[in-house]
Symmetry: none
Amino acid sequence: MSPKIVDKEEKKREIVMAAMQIFSEKGVVKTKMADIAKVANIGKGTIYEYFKNKDDIFINLFEMHFSQIRQEAALIMEKYNNPTDKLKQFVSLTVTSLIDEHSNFAEIMLDIWAEGIREHNENINHVFDLERIYREYRNVIIQILQDGIEKGFFKVMDTTLTASLFIGALDGIMLQWLIQKDLFNFATLTENIMSIFINGIKK
Amino acid sequence: MSPKIVDKEEKKREIVMAAMQIFSEKGVVKTKMADIAKVANIGKGTIYEYFKNKDDIFINLFEMHFSQIRQEAALIMEKYNNPTDKLKQFVSLTVTSLIDEHSNFAEIMLDIWAEGIREHNENINHVFDLERIYREYRNVIIQILQDGIEKGFFKVMDTTLTASLFIGALDGIMLQWLIQKDLFNFATLTENIMSIFINGIKK
Amino acid sequence: MSPKIVDKEEKKREIVMAAMQIFSEKGVVKTKMADIAKVANIGKGTIYEYFKNKDDIFINLFEMHFSQIRQEAALIMEKYNNPTDKLKQFVSLTVTSLIDEHSNFAEIMLDIWAEGIREHNENINHVFDLERIYREYRNVIIQILQDGIEKGFFKVMDTTLTASLFIGALDGIMLQWLIQKDLFNFATLTENIMSIFINGIKK
Amino acid sequence: MSPKIVDKEEKKREIVMAAMQIFSEKGVVKTKMADIAKVANIGKGTIYEYFKNKDDIFINLFEMHFSQIRQEAALIMEKYNNPTDKLKQFVSLTVTSLIDEHSNFAEIMLDIWAEGIREHNENINHVFDLERIYREYRNVIIQILQDGIEKGFFKVMDTTLTASLFIGALDGIMLQWLIQKDLFNFATLTENIMSIFINGIKK
DNA sequence: CATGAATGAGATTTCATTCAT
DNA sequence: GATGAATGAAATCTCATTCAT
């Protein structure tokens, strides 16, 4: 009459978090289900109670992350009026989502990119729709830029191109930081870049 | 220098080229030796006459590519005097090395990054030394920048930071292009970015 | 005879009935305990309150069925005097026990045969003693035949052989009916066969 | 230039034969790939060089058997003119195909029936088309019966029904023989049954 | 009593690598 | 040299059974 009560969603999150750790260390493909189970401190079989397979965990990790980002981005857009502030907050959000102390999402971006640009297998199908994700990203930036242009803050020729460049710079800098974490403080550097960038588009 | 040796080197190149094709399609880890053999039109066992294992092919691919780049970069540095031209040529070299019609190296950069930022196994060891590669890259740019500053062309505060930003932007733009190849013409975009960038550092 | 015990027996019957349904659909080996629990509308663990394991359910299903048959066969032997009637009633009993609308026992006969002819594990042990079951079947038929011979109704050379043939024909016809249920109406066909058979042994 | 030469078809046959042995002992579902490999004296992995999975072996076994039977049945129909001889030869073929000393096909019929009457999984799909197999069987018998009727040998009311009964009796007798092999000599018994049957339909 | 979450033994399956020809 | 058949280590995945609640 009173079975064990388990918060299934919480457990899923725990497994995803364990998976994230190993994914970031070894990459998704080289991560074994046994590794995840060990880190999550559960049996191999238990993972399959919550996920269909490894790709399913990966997909959940992916979706958890980006739905969170999307929500937080929406909040920023609401909360801040000044386009420069919006831009700064957006960058700050991106950076912290990638490198806060509890997560290792930056490393996993490599697997997401890899999965996203390649032919999808039947497990993944079209879940890793990076085209959409990046379009959304760009659209957020484009909106901010247009807002800034209308308000007379920015002067930008091609908003799409500028947005791409902006996002690309962030990604590329993150990559270099992943390669050599002591080269610079990612957060600080990003701020510097922001300055350069905002100066570049300032009217 | 007997013909045998030439043949052997040529065959190695053929295998590496076959591997590159599958690597770019599936990623290195998901590529099977059998796939490579089939594309190279040779027997599975034959691969082992030329390479120790899959990582060995990957390493060769990696080294072939970057030694070529290094050579060509040196040529550019020699051939051109004007810092702006040097920079333009360098970007042009980077772009063509990634996306010329005969190769699919851009996709493979994802595996190189993934391998480079992660714990290396004994096979790979210190081969994927991206820290060194990127340092070299940066140094080339830094040299150009300093040359430009000395010659009174550029005005740059922090050459290392600027070089990082420059390289990062190129990488990040490439990523977006991989995700959605029809979004923009990589080569053209790069030129635009170059303009913006060079304008940004122009004295 | 406390109500508890009645409930327990009733619940066992319910589980067996649920099991029978899945057994007939998938076969015993491919039936999962979870499937049975779902159909029985109880928890997986609850099954183990009533049965030791899957084989135990199978054994119970088997024994319920054949003890019922045995009882009903005994009733027929008592109730009817005329050997022809006895034979007809016996066939009727066999057929209805296999294909009445509430059960799917015919399909399960395949698993019973399979289990019966093969090396038994310790769980099943000597339970699926088809040799005994079929001997009993044959003996019932043999008795009827001998009765019929004595009473001057039948003329049979070898009663054992005839009994085997009789039972075999029933089994074989059932098989064909399982394979293609629309080919003939099992009950009707059986009647026809009975006629042929009884004609064949009629004096 | 001179790779190992292996008769792939012969090797497939060897694996199928090894599988048949275990299938007949344990049943298809309980047979492990490791069992088959051990009996075939090859590595587990080697099986997968020749078959997709266990069901694939089962299907091959099935198809090998019935294509052989079909061929031999056709030969009989050609070779013999007398309907009684045809019938006898057909029974003889059926019996030897099931119980010759080198094979254990009779036991496997249980798995074929089980697979044939149940919902097929994606591996098997509709390969075990017993409806067709039995229709073909019946048609052979029906042809012989009609031939016999035309030639004035037999007197049969309903040829389809009679054919079903005939095949059913064979199957059912085989079952009893499987259950208790010492009860009777299958081959001899079959002959007896044939006599009874042929007497039954003799004009 | 009833439950279903947890488990790991054991099955399937993959594939880099070896090696006889 | 070239080959691809053979292999088994290692991965994935399943599911009967247990047991804390």
